[in-house]
Symmetry: C2
Subunit: 335 residues, 2 copies
């Protein structure tokens, strides 16, 4: 057993977060401190309610995993061998903590351990949550240096929202439909979105509708990305032909190791890769950012959507991610 | 441009190497010394004649790659960006040298940078080349501590050779047919091999015969592994259903980075993974051995088949690979 502490942190949202599935003002995540050889590895879990997870289930899962861990700690293999089924956010937090420990042990940033070139980070998009057309237009103006905007859709006001956005900016747009459309309605929406300068659309149909997705993709003028349809690497082969790309999130897949495997599998199938997130502090966002030079599109803005981020790590300069040079994840408590 | 030296080394074979495609007593490989920040990264290329490569073409390719390299050197991404098409052995040598440099820079063994648990190395098989039945039986007796033997087949004497092996050992056997069979002949051979305690068969049919392989796999009592049919990660999706597993070789795929991606892709397709080699010194064999904890079967004996191995690195204890603990690849010139 490796000594583990964990605690909850409340993340207050800048704007009430409206999605096709509901709204909220505050999110809870669980922070881990895994201690080994005099060093502390940090991790963060943002449980996904939709899949029956909460901070309690995550806390139980990380305790079980810490009990199962035995040295030597190998950041790419240890999590796989101790994982608790059904708790990928817990697995992701433990994976991050092991990555952080490995980097601190070798006194080098995680990207260097992994052989990743930190100068190749892409621009990150900034998410505009669902709201009234007026409020959405205001949020766009606040998005400042971000070169790409992501618009959450799935309501009856989709057209008005997008028109409001286009009224205030000509930046490239990505649209996340969050499973909110039907095959019948999706085709004309996609054509209209293409005419509005949208560059890609995430998860237009509900996760289970793979046959419908194949049909939609044949007709779509825009690249279609899987989000709810893809969790881990083994999901990807059956998505080839149904989607043009995948959105990888650490909280869905169980950590950086699985995320890298997913990138490899998507590439082998000629699919594009986006790196996304949940509402998370700079701890988990920075962990994901270390992989960003390996992907095509980055949507790592969970930490930008909250007030009083408890952690400091990755920053954004000219819309591009800047990885911290400190050992491990390069994350520390603010202040 | 990163300073690079390279030289040829002659590897004399213990036994004349007979394959379905020919025989030879000596192999040439190219050794690289890549210099950066006062450190030297080592790599080795074993060109594959079948694919039109030799030490001259490898030398030209590594010089081109060294000219294209610019700091920061990132061992997982730099090779991809400078690779010369059609020269995977050169790419593998450059990849190794970058891995070696990265480990030496952080003063840690490569497996630790990669987050791989060195205690999980599998047993390695020992290859018995094609020869007369009497000579094969003698080679088996020399195979000492190796728990698994690999028999090269593809001649008219296949039955006599295997019976001679079974006459002197009850160890598990793997068979490599090196594309030597036909669909018609393969089925009865496979049934007979299964009855002789063979655990898997590599590349029974020529590389291009994928439809025939699908048919053979439906009838086969033994797992069938792709060797000549698979080079890189992007080859794997179309092999699912035609093979049960793949044999990854650094000289075919272009290095450790691509090898890891191949492992991920094969796993996502539910396929098994073997790590193989060409005739190579302990330099390239050790590089591959760092990945061995990630695979199911290991056939890394290229350095055991030669006299006067110029390098020292990975060793074998009780048939199992033992990774060196020195920084980087952990390889040095002998003596």
């Amino acid at each position: 057993m490796i000594p583990l502490r964990h605690y909850r942190q409340e993340l207050e949202l800048r704007h009430t977060f409206r999605l096709a599935r509901g709204a909220s003002d505050v999110r809870q995540t669980l922070v881990l401190e895994l201690e080994h050889e005099g060093l502390v590895g940090l991790g963060e879990a943002a449980p996904i309610e939709r899949y029956g997870q909460d901070c309690d289930s995550v806390a139980r899962a990380v305790e079980t995993m810490a009990q199962r861990l035995t040295p030597p700690l190998a950041y790419d293999s240890s999590v796989v061998s101790v994982a608790v089924p059904g708790e990928p956010a817990a697995e992701a937090a433990m994976d991050m903590a092991l990555c952080d420990l490995a980097g601190k042990r070798l006194e080098a940033p995680l990207y260097e351990l992994m052989g990743i070139d930190p100068s190749q980070t892409p621009v990150t998009s900034f998410t505009i949550g669902m709201d009234t057309p007026e409020a959405v237009a205001k949020k766009v103006q606040e998005a400042g240096e971000y070169e790409v905007l992501k618009i959450k859709m799935g309501s009856d006001e989709d057209r008005e929202i997008l028109e409001a956005v286009r009224g205030v900016t000509d930046r490239p747009l990505r649209v996340d439909a969050n499973e909110g459309w039907t095959l019948e309605g999706a085709q004309s929406r996609l054509e209209w979105l293409a005419s509005m300068g949208v560059e890609l659309v995430e998860q237009p149909l509900p996760a289970g509708q793979l046959e419908e997705m194949r049909e939609l993709r044949r007709l779509s003028p825009l690249p279609l990305f899987a989000d709810e349809s893809v969790h881990r690497a083994a999901d990807i082969p059956r998505l080839a032909g149904a989607f043009d790309g995948i959105n990888i999130k650490l909280m869905k897949c169980g950590g950086l190791g699985e995320a890298r495997r997913m990138i490899a599998v998507a590439r082998a199938h000629g699919m594009q890769v986006m790196l996304g997130c949940m509402v998370e502090s700079s701890l988990a966002i920075t962990a994901a950012a270390h992989l960003s030079p390996l992907v095509d599109h980055v949507d790592l803005d969970g930490n930008l959507l909250i007030v009083d981020d408890p952690f400091v790590g990755v920053t954004v300069k000219g819309g591009r991610l800047v990885l911290p040079e400190e050992p491990g994840l390069g994350v520390r408590l603010r202040g």
